[in-house]
């Protein structure tokens, strides 16, 4: 099924790319979305089953694909409005749609990949499609971000490949090594610890460029800043989940060896440094999109820290990834709306937004509460579990440092949003000319409401998938 989906989707993307007609491009993109929804439903029904020797519908992949599909629909809608406002020509729209299809397909393939080499190939493919999307506006600014993203990610992906090579060298069993995750987990005891350490470090460093985590986090910040807002929403959520998965699949193998303690410390250090850097930069940031990008760095740092804290930590990490994806996407969609009214992302001088766009302002308040993990946000539960697991693992001092850093981030983030919403600004007549489609804001409310419902009133199927994720992972 997945192979068929891959072939059909890439044919659609190719057709859109070569045809370069606006109407054809929209029709085929809608057709692709139907494919995507169908595949997601199929994966939900066949959860836990192997699709081919290279793909498996495991629970973690299924839940992340559900989030991806939901965000694909929201992004498609916001992207449609963005393109209409910018009056882009047919050629640009076609490239945009083709690249977006390529990106969604590659991410879906990474989520379900059961072979380390196949996963790497699709992660590499995401770089190609993302760079085309970042460069959509064709400005010098976008070109710079696209170049940096492509180059650093290529170096990262090359390092990760070196990691996969060393992983195969670590094999001490008889016969050639099978690089499927199931075999790697089964044969983890036969991996040479030194080579496995080198392998984990290389893969972790390489995929940190995708996850937006220390050390190669900088490219993600630039990419989120320069992309069109709907794309920023997409790559700061679903694409970061791809990076997480790349690291996590190898971490699962390491968890069955005697270097597990060492790997946990690597994650803790990287996670804490990410949160620390985010806290420092959030205090002096001058651009709203960069501010959200640093917030993503913080959240990925929290995910890394929680991964290091056993099964409760892993449960918290999964919840955090899901809720962060929904809340952060809403923030980026809303800032895109803000840009269409004010034509700026600069923090300096941006004032009185609540008066200019009351519905948008309300969505921004709602999104702020969500991302800052204030109850009833679902992120409160995941952050609470992270802190709890740190105490359980006797890292009380780390929990205190983490709480202090979160407090700094809360102050910096909230201050800028409150100023934007309520500080009186100059009157600008042209602002009244911009009409905002109410559904644009409603879609953000839907995502934010999901963060509350899934966090505090989880439906049985959601709980069942989460339980299966924990069961299958460790």
């Amino acid at each position: 099924m997945l192979i068929l989906y891959l072939i059909c989707s890439f044919i659609l993307a190719g057709f859109i790319f070569f045809k370069k007609r606006e109407k054809t491009s929209y029709v085929l993109f809608c057709l692709f979305l139907i494919f995507q929804i169908s595949l997601t439903l199929y994966a939900c029904v066949h959860r836990g089953e192997a699709d081919s020797s290279y793909f498996t519908f495991d629970s973690l992949g299924v839940i992340l694909t559900c989030v991806l599909t939901l965000l694909s629909l929201a992004t498609a809608y916001h992207e449609y409005l963005h393109v209409k406002r910018n009056k882009d020509d047919g050629r640009k729209i076609a490239i945009y749609h083709a690249a977006l299809i390529g990106l969604i397909v590659s991410m879906t393939a990474v989520y379900f990949a059961h072979h380390v080499g196949v996963m790497w190939v699709f992660i590499e493919a995401t770089t190609l499609f993302v760079s085309a999307l970042i460069y959509h506006n064709r400005t010098a600014y976008a070109l710079e971000a696209a170049w940096k993203y492509t180059f650093i990610c290529s170096v990262g992906v090359a390092l990760a490949f070196m990691g996969i090579l060393t992983l195969s060298i670590a094999w001490q069993g008889s016969g050639p090594m099978d690089l499927t995750f199931a075999s790697l987990k089964e044969g983890a005891g036969q991996l040479d610890p030194l080579w496995l350490k080198i392998s984990f470090l290389l893969i972790f460093t390489g995929f940190s460029a995708k996850m937006g985590l220390f050390p190669l986090y900088t490219v993600c910040i630039d990419a989120h800043t320069a992309s069109p807002a709907p794309i920023s929403a997409f790559i700061s959520t679903a694409l970061m989940n791809v990076g997480f998965l790349g690291i996590f699949r190898v971490y699962q193998v390491v968890a069955r060896t005697n270097i597990f303690e060492w790997a946990r410390h690597v994650l803790l250090i990287s996670g804490l440094l990410s949160i620390f850097i985010a806290a420092i930069y959030l205090l002096k940031v001058k651009n709203f999109k960069r501010m959200f990008a640093y917030s993503s760095l913080e959240n990925m740092g929290i995910v890394a820290v929680s991964l290091a804290c056993g099964s409760i930590g892993f449960f918290a990490a999964t919840l955090h990834l899901i809720f962060h994806s929904l809340a952060k996407a809403s923030l980026f969609y809303q800032i895109g709306q803000f840009y269409s009214i004010t034509h700026t992302y600069e923090i300096e001088g941006s004032r009185d937004y609540f008066k200019q766009n009351p519905k948008g302002g309300l969505a921004l308040i709602f999104a702020l509460l969500s991302i800052m993990a204030i109850p009833p946000s679902g992120l409160f539960i995941s952050k609470f579990l992270v802190i709890q697991s740190l105490f359980l693992y006797h890292y009380a001092w780390l929990a205190v440092i983490l709480l202090c850093l979160i407090l700094i981030i809360f102050f910096a983030f909230t201050k800028n949003i409150i100023y934007l919403l309520f500080l009186p600004g100059e009157k600008k007549d042209q602002l009244s000319l911009v009409k905002i489609n109410p559904w644009e804001t409603y879609s953000q409310f839907i995502l934010l409401t999901l963060v509350i419902i899934l966090g505090f009133f989880p439906p049985p199927f959601f709980t069942a998938i989460l339980e299966a994720v924990i069961r299958e992972s460790f």
């Binding site: 971000a145 690089l179 630039d222 001058k286």
Partner: protein, 209 residues
């Protein structure tokens, strides 16, 4: 013969550290392609014939001809002749790359008896570190790409070492080559030259806090 090729491969790294002309650097990248062709041919002789032909063709076509040709065209188009600005003098680069090779030797010998043939490990680790070093110290986008290609050659050398047992990995390494050539060389460098009227990273500094 294999040892000879690997030693020459490492000597190209030392030469790259002191080379000041972009043309020379590109020629050295092409020479590395020829050396990798020789190494693949000798080491992978027993491999399935079709797969061997595919690998050999890739090293000759992509690494030795297409990529260097692309680089030379871009060099001519943007009129870049020398590595004009480098934050580190050539003599320090020479010392660093020599140090990297010595360190790789020492590290390699400490791992002797392990599952990997040490000569490949030494060659590839030297190229990997030298490639990252070139990316860091040079200020032209073109020299960054050359650094990336050196890094990639190091990885390719590493994949050859285990290519007999796992041909899939070596094919994946080839994919990395093709990806780099199409994306980095074909699309972006020309556009950067057109947009900023220069291929220096000095112009790529608007995205910062």
């Amino acid at each position: 013969m294999l040892d000879f090729f690997i030693v020459i491969f490492m000597m190209t790294l030392v030469y790259m550290a002191v080379a000041q002309r972009i043309h020379t650097l590109i020629q050295l990248v092409a020479l590395q392609g020829v050396l990798l062709f020789g190494i693949s041919f000798i080491h992978l002789r027993d491999m399935h014939l079709l797969n061997l032909i595919f690998i050999l063709a890739e090293t000759i076509i992509f690494k030795t001809l297409v990529v260097p040709y692309f680089l030379l065209t871009i060099r001519k188009k943007n009129k870049i002749t020398k590595v004009t600005k480098s934050s580190v003098p050539a003599v320090y680069s020479l010392l660093f790359v020599s140090g990297v090779i010595v360190m790789s030797f020492l590290l390699g010998h400490s791992l002797e008896g392990g599952p990997l043939e040490i000569k490949y490990f030494i060659g590839s680790l030297s190229a990997l570190l030298a490639g990252i070093y070139f990316i860091i110290v040079h200020e032209k986008i073109l020299t960054h790409v050359i650094g990336y290609l050196v890094l990639e050659n190091g990885i390719f050398l590493f994949s050859i070492a285990i290519g007999q047992q796992m041909p899939m990995l070596i094919n994946t390494a080839i994919l990395l080559d093709i990806f780099a050539s199409v994306l980095i060389l074909g699309i972006f460098i020309n556009r950067i030259g057109n947009t900023f009227q220069s291929t220096s990273i000095d112009h790529l500094t608007s995205l910062r806090d």
